[in-house]
Symmetry: C2
């Protein structure tokens, strides 16, 4: 549909399938910012739609705000306009308290804050759309991973505020909150203080979705917003 989309973590578990799905929608540009350098995944993406230019920039969401602004400036200089920012960086490992919070919440806030400089209508910007990947755990925690669940609750709450600020900033926002998805993350991860060593196995006893199913619904949600 001729849009320019920035996708943070677009090569990740849910990310890669979502990128594939996005590329069936005839975007103009898909700029993937990811800490992973998944050359194979990237090549596969580039072949999907000849009309869409797929670009990769290495990006760690935990860098300081000014670094995020620099990365975005390069993109805006090149593309002139960006329509949608998808914030999808996330880790699931409750042994890593600082990293979980830094990636899942602080990084998302910083990337969002950074893009406002280019979008905020108070600075003459054109507005834009932010899609934040939360999780059902932001509503009902998976209590064996309290640090992760809390970080996702922060994302959900933060995004609800962004949405209310749309009248002031011109930037709309919503969160997409997947249920249990069979990513590599879910297949093995640490619970907080090992309160439940088998948490991944226990989760998989619940109804789950594949990353492809998740991606399809994800892109439907993006189209509707």
């Amino acid at each position: 549909k001729g849009k320019n989309v920035i996708f943070v973590a677009g090569l990740g578990d849910i990310g890669l399938d979502t990128s594939k799905e996005l590329l069936t929608r005839e975007l103009k540009n898909l700029v993937i910012l990811d800490v992973r350098e998944n050359t194979e995944g990237l090549c596969a993406l580039k072949e999907i739609c000849p009309e869409t230019k797929v670009t990769f920039i290495k990006y760690d969401v935990t860098v300081p705000l000014d670094e995020s602004k620099k990365v975005l400036k390069k993109i805006f200089d090149k593309l002139k306009t960006v329509d949608i920012l998808i914030n999808g960086a996330g880790i699931l490992d409750d042994h890593k308290i600082e990293a979980t919070i830094a990636v899942n919440y602080t990084g998302l806030v910083n990337t969002t804050t950074a893009i406002m400089e280019f979008w905020d209508k108070r600075c003459g910007g054109p507005g834009g759309i932010i899609c934040n990947i939360g999780s059902v755990t932001g509503f009902n925690a998976i209590y064996q991973v309290p640090v992760y669940s809390g970080s996702k609750a922060a994302v959900v709450n933060f995004t609800s505020s962004l949405a209310k600020l749309a009248g002031i900033t011109g930037v709309t926002a919503y969160s997409v909150n997947p249920g249990i998805t069979r990513t590599t993350l879910v297949q093995k991860f640490n619970s907080w203080l090992d309160v439940e060593p088998d948490v991944a196995e226990l989760l998989l006893e619940h109804p789950t979705q594949s990353t492809k199913e998740c991606a399809e619904n994800f892109v439907k949600a993006i189209e509707k917003n």
Copy 2:
């Protein structure tokens, strides 16, 4: 009532009045961990109840987990047992993204994780009670301070998980979530990207409570848990 209580940020805005109120309950020990060195406030506290020993230890909740453990070890070495941990450190300034999240969420998680080493019944510990100070903004954001509100949603969600883990760890937990309280914080603070320069004044148009009222209800909640 002869209890040993650790109060993180017990000299803060809500903290100091809550400490005063706690000291009318004949504790055995009140150990205040705070980044502030409020000598005047501390002296006033020491005079309230001759039966309670009030101790102060300088503590920044943003230190690494191992530092938190060291601070707690000193306290446990001295007191042998601790009944209650109150996590009350918080800042409200949405210009400071990293600090807000580090103090309000990461710091609370680290202090909680650190005390588990001494309380967790899986390690032979006696269990304990954690009281986390959240905020109504964890449920309904003050959207002009989305970073702060999100950090409090994280606290609420995290604490709900801790409570569900009580059967495994022996440590119970609950959050106390004050409404708009006339602290020095509320009198002047920054909104995110200055979306609402007068946010503090606007808040004060709503029904508010004094820190003393907040403290009284806070201690009632502690007594009931």
